[in-house]
């Protein structure tokens, strides 16, 4: 990130340090597991987790549930992101609307959405519907808040250029606003995706009949700790992967 290129020696040092931390944690884990101090399988050995991971990745059941969760999150992001974008643009473009509603958005944004879960279950059932609703509720706010802030950062002269050529509102949005706001929008979507994953998975662990969250809580209920850890690892890797992908996307279009 720094302007000057870091010395290769420092880079190597950082890589070594990171590797060392990982190895120390793994070794401590394994030692704790072998010590027998804890109740069986609360800390299963790495080999057991590895085997469970292999079995998990080979099972069709896993991919079916992964598909359900991924589908829920995608639909949630699509609905919540589009709604957030539309509301954010409207608030950013109109001072009256912004004064009327933006504080509401800022206060509602950080509240824990899980409290609405019982309502969502009543409205949309125990299946994927209520999970999508949780995801939508979660990701709407960061996208809307970022889009509203992004609208206000747009260089005013670009808006005047659009108006001077008599662009319609739709043309202003698609040809000027969305391009000029690309960075805040991508940041909003990244935050939105993060909380959509949280909202959806959390809902799945509470009450559901499908999805990765359901698998995790099922493994927990059956005290299949190696499988639970394997699922947690998979979820972590997938979340990190999605975040990295969106970050790359942001940088890729940001330079163009």
């Amino acid at each position: 990130m720094s302007a000057a290129a870091p010395l290769p020696v420092a880079a190597l040092g950082i890589a070594r340090l990171r590797l060392a931390i990982v190895l120390v944690v793994l070794a401590a884990w394994e030692a704790l597991s072998a010590s027998g101090l804890l109740f069986r399988d609360v800390i299963p050995s790495l080999l057991k987790i590895g085997a469970a991971l292999g079995k998990l990745l080979a099972s069709a059941d896993f991919y079916g549930n992964l598909g359900v969760t991924a589908g829920e999150i995608s639909v949630a992001l699509l609905i919540g992101g589009t709604a957030g974008l539309a509301v954010g643009i409207a608030l950013g473009a109109n001072r009256f609307l912004s004064q009327a509603f933006e504080s509401l958005l800022l206060y509602l944004g950080p509240t824990p959405k899980i409290i609405f879960f019982p309502v969502m279950i009543m409205w949309f059932g125990v299946g994927p519907g209520s999970k999508v609703a949780m995801g939508v509720l979660s990701c709407f706010f960061p996208v809307a808040i970022s889009a509203a802030a992004g609208m206000r950062q747009i260089d005013r002269v670009l808006i005047r250029v659009g108006r001077s050529f008599r662009a319609t509102t739709w043309q202003m949005v698609t040809k000027i606003y969305l391009h000029a706001m690309r960075e805040p929008i991508i940041n909003g979507v990244r935050l939105g995706l993060g909380v959509a994953i949280v909202g959806t998975l959390l809902a799945e662990t509470k009450l559901s009949n499908r999805g990765l969250g359901y698998l995790v809580i099922q493994a927990y209920a059956l005290f299949d700790m190696p499988k639970m850890y394997a699922l947690v690892i998979v979820l972590f890797v997938l979340s990190i992967g999605v975040n990295v992908a969106i970050g790359r996307l942001g940088r890729g279009v940001g330079t163009k």
Binding site: V157, R160, V161, S164, H179
Partner: protein, 281 residues
Amino acid sequence: MLNSDASAPAANALLAVEHVSKHFPTPEGVVTAVEDFSFSVKAGEFVSIIGPSGCGKSTLFNIIGGLLGGYEGRVSVDGATVSGTHPSIGMVFQEESTFPWRTVLDNVAFPLEIAGMDKAGRQERAAHFVALVGLQGFERRLPAELSGGMRQRVAIARTLASQPRILLMDEPFAALDEQTRLLLGDKVLQIQQELKQTTLLITHNLTEAVQLSDRVLVMTYRPGRLKRIVDIDLPHPRDSEVVSSEAFGHRVAEIWHDLREEASRGIAADEARVLRGGHRP
């Protein structure tokens, strides 16, 4: 050569501004930015409006361009009253206004895209105007790769591509250095002659106003009124060499005589405002 009577628009006027006034409410009371301003521009003419900072030039620019409403008086093109933005009037802004995410060609094609022209047609026309401002070979470049002067040429080409009957520019060279400004002035003048483009330029730069214009309108410091019209009877075609001629010097001196009073009033007013602890409206 001097003509102070401009209240009635000429019969052959393409653009006519009649008795335009604009007031702004500010914390320190109502400020009259423009007061009873009248003038007209004939087809093919190059007219400049010059005035000290804060005289309401930009207000007038926004009124004529249709971006600012709520004024008294009338703006008309070919006798028809204009309110709001109008396809006959193409604006070039003082600020950096190219779209940074669009290539030079796509920037210039923007108004054609807005108007719904098909892709082949707009690319062809945009390429023509890119070449007209001397940027052929840069079509695929992004604004960030160009110099400030080149970007301002892109902005001018973009407005020209919409083929307005009147080109309205607000200090388009203000952010450029003096040499670039003179050379770009040459370019603008050459294009203006080639297209017989009716042009209204808002500026605070004396050299620029005299170099480019057929007539210069001098504006008073707040409220902005028309102080005097100076005909620039220097021969055409002109280029930046004209700035070293004796006749050029005379015109500049003549305008400066008027402008100086107004600029001094502007500076005095600014000083008084600072002493009062007020803010610049």
